[in-house]
Symmetry: C2
Subunit: 358 residues, 2 copies
């Protein structure tokens, strides 16, 4: 960690956060009610989001503090969720250090020159706080507005960042990424170390500015067999989570990826307080696999948002029931909100969760 | 099952098949050596395939018996694998019944009018043997050439076929497919019943013409939580596997999908002899989850084909070791051969498997 990040100190937080259900559940204490928020709760499923984003490119929108604040707050206002998630994109810190990339609508992040050799490391300098002053500003504006509602800091994990850099864009099988990992483990490790510095720096700036929890998104890491995860990925993700802990050990760390049924314990051991579970593994099964040592987050199948209220309500209650077996449960979807989701269905989920199990 | 399919009778098979390692492993008997073949072993990774396919559209190539025979035999000649897999595409039987679709290079199957309502069922008539006489011809030509090497019959499972029909093409999350399943379970069931008839018919024609094993590919079913798989999918897949069994109970049935770690026992219970395992779940773990009741197939990570011989050899031996815990093991990749794979690496895998564990 560079000295500049080491010098960060944490802003005073709102005293009302002490009782926030999200933080209580994450710390395996008893919350007043089961907390709920949704991955990608801010975004294209909301008409008010489309309105404020109109004509503004995704990556630009992430760097305008007033806009980031508005977008981040929209789902908190509409749904009454128990946390805000900092509105950003996984590639924002890469762009901030100077990687030539763009987000193409309907495609995703596209990297101008995919990562191939040691020389390419020079195109990915370390992140310095001065490169993301606007992020600290956004977080400051947000926490002032949010009061007793926690803000969850957001960053992509080294593996998922690497997958975009190596593939050049979204990919189904991540063959190039895994090929690099297998053929040149030293270069792979150097890349992941660099990305760990960037990911950690991005989270630390958010925590220093007032975020009261963080989520590390290792969205595509489920493409790896467990043994490879442990050898080639876990150390760098652990470094990111440790860097957050070093700055403020009171900030819960949530660790999430999809298709990670086989990786759950290893993702916990990387230094998480809460393990995010995708919709494939029922939360009671996940809790068993995790040895009961972690709070869990999840995991309603986003596709159930398109079902009737009757079916949806039943699935919410099943998820609550399965989650009650864990030492702490943060209700969420098992993946991000689909852009086509009906906000009224999401509101119904929040109300059903808050009403409890019976 | 329509009477026409019921009238099929099974061709006499080559007596040398009695000792085929693939069939022995599938039947949980001791094979002379661990059998090995590769999903998508015939295809774009082979220069001889590209040569014979030049200028011929994918779906046309699947309907020309001489070409199907040549393509199916190519990997058997080159690698000395222990089985041929019938060269076809998952959507061939849909096209055969008259669904308007095409395979777009670089994209995959594209359906002209995606499936939405009960009326759309009329566009998916039942499959009759007369619609696929060329398939029987291809299988006949092949088994004559293959002698003591088993031919594995090929078909897509109802869920995966439905996913293409409903999405209109390949999709990451299958949101539309799952939405239909949740919102209109009756229509969903009617669709899957129809597709089960088509899938079963496609396999029965292959078995009647001489295929000595079958694999039911439910490629995308790992997108479902277990409870939904059991309620909404398993019955139709079970009907397909039962239809094969009814025709010839001696023909082993392999059942495979990716991301199915949570579904393995349910996929076995659908009526499989062999459960295919993707690369995420080590075969010893899979065997434990399956209660030791099934042979397993898999599951080398295709990305390891891009590693050094040293790493690749080690991974092959690890897979053999894990597979030795199962009552039967058919070596395979944990997913299809990537088009960029080097055939020499695949040959090395075959030789390493045949040389055994030490």
């Amino acid at each position: 960690m560079s000295t500049e990040f080491a010098a960060l100190s944490v802003a005073a937080r709102d005293p009302r956060l002490a009782d926030a259900p999200l933080l209580a559940a994450a710390r395996r204490r008893s919350p007043a009610h089961t907390p709920v928020w949704f991955m990608r709760q801010a975004g294209r499923s909301l008409p008010e989001y489309k309105k404020v984003r109109a004509g503004i490119a995704m990556l630009d929108s992430c760097r305008r503090p007033e806009l980031v604040t508005e977008i981040t707050l929209q789902p908190v206002r509409r749904y009454g969720v128990d946390a805000a998630i900092f509105f950003s994109d996984i590639v924002v810190p890469l762009k901030a250090v100077g990687v030539d990339l763009d987000i193409r609508p309907g495609v995703g992040p596209v990297i101008a020159e995919p990562f191939r050799t040691h020389a390419d490391l020079d195109r990915i300098p370390e992140l310095e706080p001065g490169m993301i002053e606007d992020i600290a500003t956004s977080v400051g504006l947000l926490t002032a507005e949010l009061g007793g509602t926690p803000l969850i800091g957001f960053a992509g994990a080294p593996f998922t960042l690497a997958s975009y850099l190596v593939e050049g864009g979204p990919s189904r099988d991540l063959t190039k990424t895994k090929a690099l990992m297998y053929t040149d483990p030293q270069l792979w490790r150097a890349l992941l170390d660099r990305l760990a510095q960037i990911s950690a720096g991005f989270l630390r700036v958010q925590v220093a500015a007032g975020a009261s929890a963080v989520q590390l998104f290792d969205s595509w890491v489920g493409a790896l067999p467990l043994a490879d995860y442990r050898t080639h990925v876990q150390p760098s993700s652990a470094a990111v989570l440790q860097a957050v802990r070093d700055l403020d050990p009171s900030v819960p760390r949530i660790h999430f990826g999809v298709q990670t049924g086989e990786l759950l314990p290893a993702m916990g051991e990387a230094g998480a307080d809460v393990v995010g579970v995708d919709f494939r593994v029922p939360l009671d099964v996940a809790t068993e696999r995790l040895g009961g040592d972690y709070a869990v987050q999840g995991n309603l199948d986003p596709a159930t948002l398109f079902a009737s209220r009757e079916v949806l309500g039943e699935r919410v209650r099943q998820t609550l029931e399965a989650g009650s077996k864990a030492p702490g449960h943060i209700f969420n979807l098992g993946h991000g909100v689909p852009p086509e989701a009906d906000p009224d269905q999401l509101k119904f989920v929040v109300d059903t969760v808050h009403a409890g199990k019976s």
